[in-house]
Amino acid sequence: MRAVLSLISGALFGAGLHVSGMADTSRVRGFLDIAGQWDPTLAFVIGGAILPMMLAWRMTRGRAPLAGGSFPARPAQTLDRPLVFGSILFGIGWGLVGLCPGPAIASISYGGWQGAVFLLAMLAGMWAVPPLRRMLDRQTSHA
């Protein structure tokens, strides 16, 4: 049940990325290129995606997930340095090539070595974060 629902969710995500044109890195970079030929498509994608999600969050009230378990609690709304610096670093990489994690995964289905190289580097970066975090924590606790 959980696997089937997850498969459907992933397929909808992938179909949406394909239909919206967000698998095309030039579209994403066009959205970020406000000083050049600005392409507003991404704003419609995010806007369109937020609508069903707003409904979904509303529907979680007083219910439990279909496949059992519970809904995620609202995380503490603390604004910390990892959030800000992590987002800046992410934005730089996103702008440089035009891929974020979802489309990077989806890009494997289109063939081409570029997406695969980006994906491998991204996975390596993700894998390196827990040890990086421990290193940073140790340094700040000594200071």
Binding site: L12, H18, M54, Q77, T78, L83, W127
Partner: protein, 139 residues
């Protein structure tokens, strides 16, 4: 492509519906970096469903392509740029605990302050990066 905004809106609705199915069905947040990152560093739970999700994410665009609706991804062929950008995205999204789907779509739709701040910072940094690359490197 003409009517790009309409395709964008339709695609966006599909993406959001995918997020709604995952949330209402399994109680998980559809954040690409969180789901993949949890698999990579072993912190994630629910490995089976996560692999099923990734299968759908790769499979659906593959079916579209096989059906004749191809997408040109147009990613750069500069090897160093691909590696540098991939590392930035991997490290950045895990430190920030989310990416476009997690903070952007799932966060903004529940009026999360963290989601809003993250989204403003990654879009802002992306704007700067694109401008620097276009003007400085000429890619």
């Amino acid at each position: 492509m003409e009517m790009a905004w309409l395709y964008g809106l339709l695609g966006g609705l599909l993406i959001g519906t995918g997020g709604a199915v995952l949330l209402l069905g399994t109680g998980r947040i559809m954040g690409a970096s969180g789901l993949i990152g949890g698999l990579v560093d072993g912190t994630g739970s629910d490995r089976g469903p996560t692999l099923a999700f990734l299968t759908g994410l790769i499979g659906a665009p593959a079916l579209f392509s096989l059906g004749g609706w191809a997408v040109n991804t147009q990613a750069t062929s500069q090897l160093w740029l691909l590696i540098l950008a991939g590392l930035c995205v991997g490290i950045g999204t895990r430190f920030a605990n989310g990416c476009t789907s997690g903070h952007g779509v799932c966060g903004l739709s529940r009026f999360s302050l963290r989601g809003l701040v993250a989204t403003l910072f990654y879009i802002g940094a992306g704007v700067v990066a694109v401008s620097v690359v276009r003007i400085g490197v000429g890619l």
